[in-house]
């Protein structure tokens, strides 16, 4: 039955796009690689269109792969994030001697994995998506081959990733042992009946650890600063946003929806993780001397905020989660894009000192960066404020006022290091070494888009909120 495979179309289309770019790369002379950018963007757009067009299609492979509103919501997020990543990469990869075609292909391939993660209704399938995504990203992290940090980053990411994968896979095996299935619907059915309690609990716990690793929750976060710092900046942005979003998509579908009956079991652990994650992320960000590294810790802290939504649960919590994913994507991508735009003589211009005086040299970049920093710190009327407002409101509504209070205190700490960037840009004189800027229209487009989105989501959140609600509703 052909209709059976409709749900697979977005992922399949993305795969085709990746292959087309790969082949096209062979026939494109070095100075005409721009066509690869446009082909990749077209592929992403087509996937997004396909997803929208066939939203609500029948599940493929015995309902193990779904194209419900929830999956479509995340597919759109992935497509936009991947597109923005490519836009901010163009100039970066050319100047650092990274193979351009392969770079875009790997982004598209990891997007295939993400789409599967968001659509999967079966643990094994989810795992396949996870690995497809992860392996592509491992390679991306090491793409800047002339730079030792890049290789180190890829190596560390791969080793620890493999370790975490073991946990995840073991968890699936235990759950299979307890319930006799990897299909999430079957598992959910089995949850009602008699079950091997400890086996199931251990399985659920290990799956949780696997996901917690991917979103960079403490104490599974140690790899983040090293990996994020060493990887090429656009890849870091992609990891911090898209990979995290994909993991949260899985987390929401598996835990919030399918394993809702087990809420009381996993909530305390997730709550503890959330508190630990945001506190560690924010506190450690304070003493960083590199903006890129600070943003790595900031992404840990934001994973903690997002976990508040998981603890809150319910429709309100899930809505807050999805909305915050979108807000976080806009402001974080933008911030990394600005970092990617700066270049010192022989290294990345990612230190705080490199930002000194940027407000006078590059007013547009500095203004956008200020927006992103203020939004990340949660100042109204920007996306970060609105997102946090709904997160904390969901927590309070679910009776977790303590979590909201800790979240607010954490935001307070974060103001320090975010504002420091603005302070450097406007209040300090230019750094010692002269910097050249490799701004390009592509990159400016990415910065402009994310800046507008950051403001838009703050002032007019209604559209995104309704879209989130629609995505949640389609899970039922």
């Amino acid at each position: 039955m052909a209709a059976d495979y409709v749900a697979l179309l977005p992922a399949a289309q993305m795969l085709v796009a990746a292959i087309v770019v790969l082949v096209l790369d062979l026939f494109t002379p070095a100075d005409e690689k721009g066509v690869l950018v446009w082909t990749s963007l077209a592929g992403l757009a087509l996937s997004a269109w396909v997803a929208l067009r066939f939203r609500g299609a029948e599940g493929a492979f015995g309902n193990t792969l779904l194209l419900d509103g929830f999956a479509v919501f995340f597919i759109l997020v992935f497509a936009v994030v991947a597109a923005l990543t490519i836009l901010m990469s163009v100039q970066y990869v050319r100047e650092s001697g990274i193979r351009e075609g392969e770079f875009y292909v790997l982004i598209l391939l990891s997007a295939v994995g993400m789409i599967i993660m968001a659509s999967a209704n079966d643990l094994i399938l989810f795992f396949i998506g996870l690995e497809t995504m992860s392996i592509a990203v491992y390679v991306l992290a090491g793409m800047w081959r002339s730079r030792a940090e890049s290789a180190e980053s890829a190596m560390k990411y791969f080793l620890i990733g493999a370790f975490a994968t073991g946990f995840f896979l073991y968890g699936i095996a235990l759950i299979y042992g307890a319930t006799g299935s990897t299909h999430l619907d079957r598992i959910a059915e089995a949850l009602g009946g008699p079950q091997a309690a400890l086996l199931l609990t251990a399985g659920v716990f290990l799956v949780l650890v696997g996901l917690a690793f991917k979103v960079a929750a403490a104490p599974f976060h140690f790899w983040v600063p090293d990996v994020y710092d060493g990887a090429p900046t656009p890849v870091t942005a992609f990891m911090a946003v898209a990979v995290k979003a994909a993991a949260f998509a899985g987390w929401a579908r598996i835990f919030l929806h399918q394993w809702e009956p087990l809420r009381d079991e996993w909530t305390p652990a997730v709550k503890a993780l959330a508190i630990l994650t945001m506190t560690l992320g924010n506190v450690l960000a304070v003493t960083q001397s590199s903006v890129k590294r600070m943003l790595a810790y900031s992404s840990i802290a934001h994973a903690g905020y997002l976990m508040i939504a998981l603890v809150a649960g319910g429709e309100v919590g899930a809505q807050a989660l999805l909305f915050y994913v979108v807000s976080y994507a806009a402001m974080t991508l933008g911030a990394f894009a600005v970092v990617a735009a700066l270049k010192a003589d022989d290294r990345e211009g990612a230190a705080y000192a490199d930002f000194a005086g940027l407000g006078y040299r590059k007013p547009f970049l500095a203004m956008a960066m200020s927006l992103f920093m203020l939004s990340l710190a949660g100042f109204p009327p920007l996306a970060g404020f609105t997102g946090k407002f709904y997160l904390f409101r969901a927590a309070v509504a679910a009776g977790h006022t303590d979590l909201a209070v800790i979240g607010v205190l954490n935001s307070l700490v974060s103001v320090f290091y975010y504002l420091r960037v603005i302070l450097m840009m406007y209040m300090q004189e230019g750094g010692v070494e002269a910097k050249s800027f490799r701004g390009a229209p592509y990159l400016y487009a990415a910065v402009g888009f994310t800046a507008v989105a950051t403001v838009y989501l703050g002032i007019l959140p209604t559209g995104a909120l309704y879209a989130s609600l629609g995505a949640i509703a389609s899970l039922r």
């Binding site: 104490p219 996993w266 409101r393």
Partner: protein
Amino acid sequence: MTTNLLRWIPLLPLAAAVLNVFFGGRWGKRFAGILASAAVFGSFLIALRVFMLLSPDAVLRDTLYTWIESEPFKAQVSFQADALTAVMLLVITGIGFLIHLYSTGYMAHDEGEARFFAYLNLFVFFMSVLVLADNLLLFFVGWEGVGLCSFLLIGFWYEDPANTTAGNKAFIVNRIGDFAFLLGMLLLFWEMNRLGVPSLDFAALKDAAARIAPDTAVLITLLFFIGATGKSAQIPLYVWLPDAMAGPTPVSALIHAATMVTAGVYLTARLNFLFVLAPYTLSLIAIIGAATALFAGTIAVAQNDIKRVLAYSTVSQLGYMFLAAGVGAFSAAVFHLFTHAFFKACLFLGAGSVIHAMGGEQDMRKMGGLRRRLPATYWTYLIAGLALAGIPPTAGFFSKDRILLEAYASPHGSLALWLVGWITAGLTAFYMFRQLFLVFHGTSRAPESVQAHVHESPAAMTIPLIVLALGSIAAGWLALPSRDVWDPWLQAVLGRSNPAEHGEAVNETLLVALTVGIALVGIAAAYFLYGRERRVREDGPLWGTLAQKYYIDELYDFLFVRPFTAAANWLARAFDPGIIDGAVNGVAGLVRGISASGRRLQSGNVQHYLFAFLIGTILIFVYWLRR
């Protein structure tokens, strides 16, 4: 009725402001002014269209989006236009446009032209949001916005610390009023919530008003009125307005005539259904209004700065408006607001023209004899002056006469209120014509060097003057005794208040005669004292007190500013460094310390990371199982 016309009234100036901020410098100086004027003119055309679509009891609505949704409260960014809003819009955009046009001439030599027009447009934007808002929260956005814009514009020439100080003063004094307004709004919401209608929409407020507890209504309206005294410069918060003339003259015209100061009057008119529930507040408003009118009028007599006279005259005329509102004659208040906008804008722009001609001189003692050199300015100034003095058949006559009639004959009115208003009318005529004679008549007292350069202003400046002068005559004819179109237009919104209808026969003719009589006496006195070369000596303790504005600024300085600064200084020197900074720095140091030691955990060693991973997993699993 819904329409999506309304949104464009604020959006056009906003768009122009944004464009001017970002590109104003690049497109050449002329362009900034043209763009800004065109945007406001566009808004004016739309406002006209809206006016034509409306009938007295119709309401147009335009909802943009849901702004805040937090059960059970919901606020929308939603505009409404009824008869009252339409009048306000026409004033704001119409007179606003003339002021913009005038500014293209006035600011032509200024460096910061693009910035100036961006602020000016932003002002119009916030003011139109204020009058278009269909709920109090959005209203508050406009309310705060005009406060911000006035701050920016008064301190526009920020190189001079005096201007910045004036801007700060305007902002801070307004904040006091804003605070009361905010309290009033919160209290009102509290009360509405109690009544089971958790909303701040004007329509919902109007429906529920009758059920609000009387004592609460008094408190709420009092708080709102305090807010209004800030924006509309009434006792005790009027002190910022005279200083606000530090900004460029078109800004004064905009603040004094078309925007800002009308916000407080508009607030009382918009919430008239609340105010009528609180007779106590109304009496207070009437008394404060009358007192402000007289008080500011006496100060205006003794000022020598051409703009300062006008500034106190604005405070005084706003007093009239509140007097009218206080006796329940909201329609008369808005009518005076409407006519006052024409002649006060005309006077300020005329003063700007004089200052322009005199090379920046503002002291009337150094002017004189400008009548022949600046004919267009003189004649328009004369007409607007007659209107301010309330001489028939100018607009000011009709509106002032109506207020005085209401002050006497309305059920809330009294002879005392009328008397104060009547005396003020005489003072108004006197100080206005004192100014006119000092500036335009007699022989010039300016130094030769200045005299040589005196010239009439360019057409961009004189055309607005002429239009405004025509308006200063004709605007009053909307409420001719024989054919009154004003009251019927606003009746549905502001309620009916026609003194002739509630009992007590009033000899209207006598009242009108008395009012015109005292105005003529004031003009005559001015003529005898200043009209001919013979000038009176301006000294003596009374004159000194008036010239020093009753030492109110000094009094406030002594009562509030100095103790406050002293307390702030003490806190800053003794309390802050030790206790607050100590605590903050202590916490910051603690966080930094933890952060630094946490950083050491980040060894870069994969084995360590994996070990931590494992330990973490075990600990959390144990925690999970023990629950």
